[in-house]
C-alpha cells in the first residue's frame, strides 16, 4: 500500500454516509395471535396475558398484548401482501450491509431501543416507516467502527396515532 492510496475502508465509509436520512420504505402489518404466543415462549415469558383473552380481559386490557421486544418481529410475521399500500417502497438494510460483509466487515447489533407510545394488541393493523436517522464513525484502539442507526415508527392504521418506535444501532467493523 502506498501513501497515495486512500485509507482502507474509505470507499465503504462513503457508501455508508450516503445512507444518512434515507427512507428505508414502509410496511403494513397485522398483529397475529399465534406468533405473539410463540414469541413469548421463545423469550421464556409464561405470562398468560400473551396467550389467553380471558386473562387479558381480567387484567383490564382490551385484547392480547405483545411482549416488549416483539416489535422487531412485526415484519417477520404480519407483513401480508394484501395489506401493503400500492407502490410502497421497500428497501432492506441488508442490501447495503451484505456487500460489506462479503468484503470482510463484521456487522454487529450494537444497541436496541423501543419507545412505547400506546399498547399494541392482537388484531391491530399498523403502518411502519423506517429511516436511517444517523451514520457516524468512532475510532477504537486504532480501528474504525461505523454505526448505522435505523428508526422505525409504527402507527395504528385506523387512528394514525403512534404506538411504538424502534431504534436499532448496527455496528460495521472492518
Amino acid at each position: 500500500m502506498t501513501a497515495q492510496r486512500p485509507p482502507e475502508g474509505a470507499a465503504d465509509k462513503l457508501e455508508l454516509e450516503s445512507l444518512r436520512g434515507r427512507s428505508v420504505g414502509q410496511s403494513t402489518i397485522v398483529i397475529e395471535r399465534g406468533p405473539v404466543e410463540a414469541f413469548a415462549a421463545a423469550v421464556f415469558d409464561e405470562n398468560p396475558l400473551y396467550r389467553d383473552p380471558a386473562a387479558a380481559s381480567a387484567a383490564g386490557l382490551p385484547g392480547i398484548p405483545v411482549p416488549a421486544t416483539f416489535p422487531l418481529a412485526f415484519e417477520t410475521w404480519g407483513r401480508r401482501d394484501e395489506l401493503q399500500p400500492e407502490g410502497a417502497e421497500r428497501f432492506a438494510l441488508n442490501e447495503f450491509l451484505d456487500p460489506l460483509v462479503a468484503r470482510g466487515a463484521l456487522v454487529l447489533h450494537g444497541e436496541q431501543g423501543f419507545d412505547y407510545h400506546a399498547p399494541v394488541f392482537v388484531g391491530q393493523v399498523l403502518d411502519g416507516r423506517s429511516t436511517i436517522v444517523d451514520v457516524y464513525s468512532r475510532e477504537s484502539k486504532g480501528r474504525r467502527m461505523d454505526f448505522v442507526v435505523l428508526e422505525t415508527a409504527w402507527r395504528d392504521r385506523t387512528t394514525a396515532e403512534p404506538v411504538v418506535t424502534t431504534r436499532m444501532t448496527v455496528i460495521v467493523r472492518f
Partner: protein, 143 residues
Amino acid sequence: MGEGKLIFDQLAAGDRAPERRHVLTRTDIVRYAGVSGDMNPMHHDEIQAVAAGQPSVFGHGMLSMGLLGAAVTDFVGVGNLTHYSVRFVRQTWPGEELVTRVVVAGTRVEGRRRYVDLDVALANSAGEDKVVGRATAEVPAAG
C-alpha cells in the same frame, strides 16, 4: 391501560425486581431464530460458527433483551412500559446461566403522570454483563 402492579409511593431507588434465571441451550437459540426470523447461521449452524472463529453458536442479542424484557414487564406490569433500550456488551453461549438485574433508579412525576426509571441488565452467573440498559414505565395511579 396497563396492569396495576407497582405502588408509586412505595417505590425507592435501589429496589430490585425478582431475578429471572435461565440456562441457555442450543434449542432455545434455534427457537428464537425461528420465531424472530433472524436466520444468521452464527446462531444455529455450529459448523459455520466454528469456521468463522467462534467457539460455538451463540445467542441472539435480542434473545437476551427479550429475556430481560420479561423480567421488566413482570415487575412494572404489562402495558406500562414507555421506554426500553439496551447496549449489547457480550455474546451469550450455550450452557451459560443468564440472570436478570432490574433495579429502580428513581421515580418522577410529569404533570399528572408518574414514572419509574429502571437500570436493567442481563449477566451470566459469573457476573459478566451481556446487555445493559434502561427502562421507564408509567405507574398507574393507585386505587
